[in-house]
Amino acid sequence: MNYSWDWGLLFRSPHIGWIAQGFVTTIEMAVLAWCIAMTLGSLIGTLRTLDNPIAKRIGTLYVEIFRNVPLLAQLFLWYYVIPELLPASAQKFVKRDMADPQFWTSVVGLGCYTAARVAEQVRSGIQSIPRGQRSAALAMGFSTAQVYRYVLLPIGFRTVIPSLTNDFLGVFKNSSLALTLGVMELTAAARQIEEYTFHSFEPFAAATVLYSCVTLLVISLMRVVERRTRIAGNVGTAR
């Protein structure tokens, strides 16, 4: 293999700037999409555990739709299809007036997609709580909303923190798909350097290292959070 290594190119302008900017964009997208996913996902997941059949149906519908269409296809729907169905004024906003439409479309797409996964975690977290906890809380005189607020959600979230960590890492990694809409995130930055320099190993190695490091960092961070939020003794065996 006759490849001329040039690790220095990574640190030359403008390449270093592209990588830095791409990395920041990736993180921004992941964090913003995660906020959407957590809010929407908790809501949908809770809906699925209610006794009300209509609420349940809505939750299920959302989850099934967003879980069974590939993310890339969803991004295309959000970007190329949904705006076309809007009234003209709204179209103009989402296509032009909105700052950075590619970025925000990706964030919304990623957020809604991940929300379905979060919803499933929240649902399973709540459902893993022994039925008796709900009965006990109701028997005390709590209203349904209070039962969720004080008992089911706090316990449910704690039990699914590890899976939620996985989902966060998922959204972090999936943000790379935004490059298909033209967002200059980390993977796209690596590609751009490759296109400009015809060196592929160095930029992709840099991207790989960055992705891995963030993953490692998040995992160790969440270990700490897990330890902090762990219920003294053990939830699973509190029977």
């Binding site: 099934e64 069974n68 592929s200």
Partner: protein, 218 residues
Amino acid sequence: MSGFDWNVILNNRGLLLQGLAVSFQLTLVAIAGGMALGTVLAMCRLSRFRPLAIAAGSYVNFLRSLPLILVIFWFYILTPQIVGHPIDAYSSVLIAFTLFEAAYYCEIIRAGIASVKAGQVNAGLALGFGQFHVMRYVVLPQAFRNMLPVLLTQAIIMFQDTSIVYVVGVRDFLTAADVVANSNNRPVELYSVVAVTFLVICFTASRLVGRLQRKYAL
């Protein structure tokens, strides 16, 4: 928007169906490859020989920390340079998928084995079964049953993931639809068809998995 144009779909159904076939084919090959390699990796991870377990564990964790798209790029652009002879996009994507999915299957298989309760192993041992026989008659059959739904669910996820080969131009279903959408200027129709098709296939499949799970629940 000027009305939904069914004709563009009908006229290009050949191209679209071919794309769908490619997606299925990719899924099947990657499942087979990923499962085989994943089982080997799981055995390595559970092995008492520490270096092997650590090596397998590092591999799994490393790949799981990367976006699939990046792995596809790696293999698409770099393997030909490494191995020194040309590899077409389809093969490079197959390699990427197999190696990538193996990491996920490894974890599923490992969790399946861990899900068998320690009491069952004790019961097997107490009867006089050897280690190997306990694995063979007690642990593995239960482990497999426990993980079957997850294995199948992973297959459905992988089927959806095949759409990512779009970035290297392999003509899967989404890419085919994209080509038709672009050349006919009909993105709304084509992307909607892609979404609905995936929705129907994956939803049906996950329902079947659910039914299977209920049937074989221990």
